[in-house]
Structures are given as structure tokens and as C-alpha cells.
Symmetry: C2
Subunit: 432 residues, 2 copies
């Protein structure tokens, strides 16, 4: 039986999960691949801490060079996260003739073109199923079984931490700060959850999805994004009143004028499967012109779901399926670029919440500003002042019909400049 | 550019969909495969009817031999359905050196071993994504991205016709017969829907899933199955009262003693994603030991969703991914056989509905019979006679805790022999 040696960079939670599968379920991988896939090196700066897996003597190392320089190592798995040294390590793995597997969405979103071009140059492959939606076999499906489709849209909950926090807040019993603390306690959120809650993580994953499903090279930093900090407890109540739930959605929507990409807390109709995705689950709704809507749900993070995707990639790489897919799709080729719509030209529905002074003529003024931007109102809520919910005082909720983003942003700016409008206008998107 | 010729058998609804994609979206397939994939022959006994696609002159034929004998045809697509001549045609395609793509679950469930052994003998492949859950990229996911898992269970709604009928009945406004008629009108149900509603179709698909996910060679005819004819309108009301919906589930559940396979109308907790799958949608919940629960939903039948899966298989076959997967999994190898549990040893919860005469001592007798078989009651409903719902009179609903199937069947037989029990006991499964 042929032996294939694998090295792992990054011995954290996911790395430990991958080591568990490779050490404890060797039989499973041999049965599928017909090859003896050996995890021969695990490289980390900290190799003294205890992990929940038995590692054979000589496997742990702090010396990355010993891996790059070993011609008997065929596959390198990058689970360090972040940009450096992950980028340098991946480039060195490719240069030294090794195929790469990574779970690093930030790295791909930022340096996808450089890394994929390097892989093409050295005739190597990069597999990255774990980088978006962890255990959900989404990238694989988009790259293989659904290839006969032209995709119309992909709408996804790609950040389990945010979904957990929103689910907790929706229950009505947990405030934002407490929900964040709870997510940290459960290991969903990082010590610094900023990249999750401000939409960065979702935008990076959306850039990868746009590349795969639409061949679009999008700079993730230019994807308009609103984080979940924008959402207040009362938004859940108003959303419910209007028949919606609130989810942080990463959306790619194709129209004749180009591709819309955005990340935003979004009102989703209560009967949409995405509305029912709770806790730390991820979910994706892709609409293809042949297949229609396809919906996937699963654990997007966590040790074993992510390790499942990484080891799936190892198997695909060993068997040669990755090579075929990699060659076929030509991802992050510089000549490739679908037309991205400018954010001002986005076209969709919105939810606006703001406080107004209770005085004659205010509504007339507000509706005039909206009308001037061709924005038509779909629904409106203003509750009578109520002793039981005093924070409702003079809160005005508007949802719009589909309108141009540019006009909406101008209208919001004008509204905020009105003396009768108190504070900022909170704007969430509404799912079509 | 290399040309690859494809022939299609069966020019019905699905065949027309495949022809649409191959003729009208040639560019899409060229972009992915780098090859000119040409649909050169469409064979059917009826080639005079009009279809919703323009077919170039010379493509339509009634002469199957002309395809088998043409060495320039590389791939044959079997969309005839049923056992013969589909079986003979597939064997002849393989013998004549052509790879095969089929959407025929009955054929695979019945003759999988024969066909796969023939493919191995002639060094050809069979791809069959469309045979289970149409457009959902399920078989692909189980065979590739999820390969690092050992599966614990697969629970699925694999028959869109039945799901449509149950959804209609659940709304409370449609009787079984009307729902069936409506399904036929919408093109979901066949003129003779017997194979759908009696669970045959689901059992055949379950046999294929058992093969792929558990390596289990199951005779589909031996899979215990109950059709949806068993379900009455009042069962939806009682199920709702207990917090459940009713779905026709095909289930494969692994335990230390072996694999349980069964098809049955099943009470599913209202918050389970499977409970929310409506109309003609299919859905699958697979639980892997690493990935945890993964949920898929999509259109399981219909022209374009099924064609999406068939053309996905064409692309995979042309690119060589099918060859890798086919060789790797060794499906329907005769030496391969997971232990199937005997139905009497199944272990699960049940819902029982039957009529009892309203007389002293009856409940005592019933609970005695159940107790004797070690069956413990989880919940019980008996409504007071009510003028508004006279059909409730003396209807008794019992749900059980987990119990041995053999004991339950003995208990049901004994109950039915009691003078105080009127008619048959209706038994549905309850999802764990």
C-alpha cells in the first residue's frame, strides 16, 4: 500500500480535530483512498500544551522548514488562520511541491489570486471546503454536482457566532452584550469577536462564494457590510410584527446589470427556511436556473465539523478529484471578473427605524423626502406611547418597496438632518 | 477542442430537460469541461410527439442498436425508467464501452449489483445523482465531501408526490383522494401513483442511500414499508396536538446491532427541519460522527432539477471525477454487506390510533397487553365525545416510548383481537 505523508500547521481546536480523525480513524481513510495517509508532522509555536489527542513521538515540531524541506511530505494543511505566516507557509508548501488544504477564509479572500496563481505555477492544488460553512459540503456541491446551473442568487448565514447571538436576542431574554459573552463562553466567539459581529468574516466568505458560484473576483473590503451591532432588541419585536425574523445574511444576487454583494442584518420572512436556522448553525440557499432553490444547513464551525471538511479535502486531494476540480474552475484567474454592481445601484427593500418628535407635519416631511428619491413605503408602524414599553415612544418603523440604494442613502442622510428626527436612522435590509 | 458524443434514451419530461441544457447551454458545459459535449442521438419509441426543445435533424431515432454500435458515442444516458428495457440498454451501453448515467432508482435498487459488476468488468462507470432526491446534490456529498464521516443515521423525505399530498392533507382542507388528484394535475404524481403512495419508490431510494452511506446491500423489497394511505385526516390533528407533523420518512439508522431500514409515515417534532418541508420538496438529514447533522432541501423531481443532476453527472463523467468516485466506492460489490437488523429487532417509538368501545375495564386490558410486551406509554389522548367532531368518538391515541418492534407487532395483533377494539390499529412511527 502506497503511503502519503501529511503535515499540519496550527495545532489549535481544528488541528486537534483533524489529528483525531487521521490518527483514530486511519482505517476509514484507507478504505476510501486505498492509501496509507499518515500525519507525520504537526507544526505550531506552542507544542507543549495538552490536547485531546495522542500524538506519536516525533510528530510535534516548531520547525516549519523541516516540513518544507522534506520531499516525502506530499500534502500540507494550513490551520493557522489569519494572514501571516499563513500566506508565506502556503506559498512555501506550493513551491516545495506539496498540495495545500486550508480552512482560512481571510487568507483566500485577501490573497486568493496570489495563492491560486502560485498553485497553478507549481502544478499543485489548493482545497478549501472548510473555509466557508465548515461541515456543510457547499463548495464541493457548487463546484461539481450543481455545475450545470447558472446561479441567480446565493443567500447565506455563514457566521455561526452572529447567528447564535441573534437567536439569543430574538428569544427576548438576552441583551446583545450578554449574548456575546455567552457565545464566548460556549467557544463560538473569539476573545475579540469584532471580526464576527462587524460582518468582516461574512464578507470574506461571501467573496469566496462569489468567486466559486459567479466567477467574480470581488475585493472583500469593498463589499458593503453592516454588522449585528446595528440590531437592537426592539428590532426583533417589530420584525416579528411584520412577519419576519432577523438574520445576518451574506448575499450574492445576479441581475442583468451585474452582481450585488452585501452583508447585512436582514429581515427574512418567517416561512423562509433561512429564518428557522437557529443557534450556531450555518445555512445556505442557492438558486440555480435549472435546479431551482437548494438549501443546506449544518454546523459552520467547531472542531469536528470543520475537521470533517478538512479530511474530506485530504481524501479528494489524495484521490485526484481536487486536481480535476482545481484545473477545471481556474479560480482567481486575474483575467476573470464578473461585473460587480456599484453599491449605489443595488436594488432592494429596506427596514428603517428612527425616533421622531411627536409634532404636526413630521410625517408629511418624511414621506416627501422618501418620495423625492422614488422610494415607496411598503409598511409603517408607529405605536401609541405605552407605559409598558416606554422605549417605543415616537419610534417610527418604515419598510420600503424595492428601491435604488443610492437614493435610499441620500434619503437617510436627509432624514437624519431633520430637526424632528432624533439620532441616527437604523437601516436593515429586507429579503426579497 | 475534443468532442465527446452523448446519446440519450427516453425522451420524456426529464429527457427533454437534459436536451434543453445540452442544446441551449452548450457554452456552460464547454466552459467547465473544456470539451465539446454533443448530444448526437435521442432514442425513444415515440419520436413524433412535440417537445419543448428544438432537436437538430438526424438526432431523433427509434433504433437503439445504432447507438450501441456507434464507437463515436462515449456516454449513454438512461432516462427510460422501469426495469426493462432499461436494464438491457444499460448493460449493452457498458458492453459497448460507453459510460452510463441514469436517473433510475428502481433499476439500481433491483439490479445494482449486476449493473455495477458489468461496469467494473468493462472498465466503465455509472453515475446516478438524479436517482435519489433529484436536484439535491446528496449522493455526491455522501460520496466525496462527507467521506471522513461514519454515518449514524440518514432520515429523508425522498418522495415529493407523497410530501405534496401530506402537505395538502395537513392544511385540513383537502381529503386524501383530492390531494392525489391535485398532485396528478400538477404533474407530480404518475397516472398510477401506487408506487409513490405505497412507499415502493421511497424504499428503492433508501436501498440506494444505504448502499452509499453504509455500504449495506439491502433488498429493497425486504425493507418494511408503510405507505401514506395509512394516514387519515384526524392523524394530523392528533399529531399537532402532540407537537408533531407527519411526513413519509425513509430512514436508515445505525446501532451496534446493525442497520435499521424502514419507510413509514412518521411523526416528526414540529421544530425538526424535516417537519417544515412542504409541498413537492425533498429533504435529507444525515448525521455523521464528525460533521454532526447536515440538512439538505431541494426539488426532488421535475424536469429541470432532475436534468441539473443528470448534466452534473455528464460533466463529472467527462472530467473523470466519476471514474475516481466509482473506483473508490466499489458500490454493490457482492462481498460487501453491512449487517441489517431484522425488523423484529427494530427499536423505536410509535403512534397508535384505534377505536375502542366505551366500557369499563378496556383501558386496563389494553395497558396490560402493552405491559406484557415491555411497551411503556409515553402519551395518550382520548377526547370526550363531541358533537362537532363525532368521528373522534372513542378514538384512542397512544404514543409509546422506545420499544422492540417484534413486541409491538405482537401487542397490536392482540389488541386487534379484543372484542372492545373496533377495527384495525393504525400504527405510525415517531421520529427519535
Amino acid at each position: 500500500m502506497e503511503t502519503l505523508n501529511v503535515a499540519l500547521f496550527g495545532f489549535g481546536t481544528i488541528g486537534t480535530g483533524v489529528a483525531k480523525l487521521l490518527f483514530n480513524h486511519k482505517d476509514r481513510i484507507i478504505r476510501v483512498t486505498g492509501k496509507n495517509v499518515c500525519l507525520v508532522k504537526i507544526c505550531d509555536t506552542n507544542i507543549t500544551g495538552t490536547r485531546d489527542v495522542d500524538v506519536p513521538r516525533g510528530v510535534l515540531t516548531t520547525d516549519a522548514d523541516s516540513i518544507f524541506n522534506d520531499p516525502n511530505i506530499h500534502i500540507g494543511i494550513e490551520l493557522i488562520g489569519g494572514l501571516e505566516p499563513a500566506r508565506t507557509f502556503v506559498l512555501r508548501l506550493l513551491e516545495s511541491g506539496k498540495d495545500v488544504i486550508t480552512a482560512n477564509k481571510a487568507l483566500l479572500a485577501q490573497h486568493g489570486a496570489e495563492l491560486f496563481n502560485a498553485a497553478r505555477k507549481y502544478n499543485r492544488t489548493i482545497a478549501f471546503e472548510a473555509s466557508v460553512c465548515g461541515g456543510i459540503p457547499l463548495l464541493n456541491a457548487l463546484q461539481t454536482a450543481l455545475q450545470a446551473n447558472s446561479f441567480q442568487s446565493i443567500t447565506a448565514i455563514v457566521n455561526g457566532t452572529c447567528n447564535y447571538i441573534l437567536s439569543q436576542m430574538e428569544s427576548g431574554k438576552t441583551a446583545y452584550k450578554d449574548a456575546v459573552a455567552q457565545a464566548q463562553k460556549l467557544g463560538y466567539a473569539e476573545a475579540d469577536p469584532a471580526m464576527d459581529v462587524n460582518g468582516t468574516d461574512s464578507a470574506q466568505k461571501l467573496a469566496i462564494l462569489a468567486q466559486i458560484a459567479f466567477g467574480a473576483s470581488a475585493d472583500w473590503q469593498l463589499i458593503p457590510r453592516t454588522g449585528i451591532e446595528a440590531v437592537d432588541a426592539i428590532d426583533f419585536r417589530y420584525a416579528k410584527e411584520l412577519g419576519y425574523r432577523i438574520k445576518l445574511l451574506a448575499a450574492a444576487v445576479r441581475s442583468t446589470e451585474g452582481l450585488e454583494l452585501h452583508v447585512s442584518p436582514t429581515l427574512v420572512k418567517a416561512d423562509n427556511p433561512l429564518a428557522k436556522v437557529r443557534d450556531a448553525f450555518n445555512a445556505v440557499r442557492a438558486v440555480g436556473d435549472a435546479v431551482g432553490p437548494v438549501f443546506f444547513q449544518g454546523l459552520g464551525a467547531g472542531q469536528m465539523p470543520t475537521a470533517s471538511a478538512v479530511v474530506g479535502d485530504i481524501i479528494d486531494t489524495v484521490l485526484g478529484r481536487t486536481a480535476i476540480t482545481f484545473r477545471t474552475l481556474n479560480l482567481w484567474k486575474t483575467e476573470q471578473a464578473a461585473v460587480l454592481k456599484s453599491p449605489n445601484e443595488f436594488f432592494g427593500k429596506s427596514y428603517l427605524r428612527f425616533k421622531v418628535e411627536d409634532q404636526p407635519g413630521v410625517m408629511h416631511e418624511i414621506t416627501g423626502i422618501l418620495g423625492k428619491q422614488n422610494i415607496s413605503i411598503a409598511s409603517m408602524i408607529q405605536h401609541e406611547p405605552d407605559e409598558e414599553s416606554p422605549h417605543d415612544d415616537a419610534v417610527l418603523i418604515l419598510t420600503t418597496h424595492e428601491c435604488r440604494e443610492g437614493g435610499l442613502l441620500t434619503a437617510i442622510e436627509t432624514l437624519e438632518s431633520l430637526p424632528a428626527v432624533l439620532g441616527k436612522v437604523v437601516r436593515l435590509r429586507v429579503q426579497r
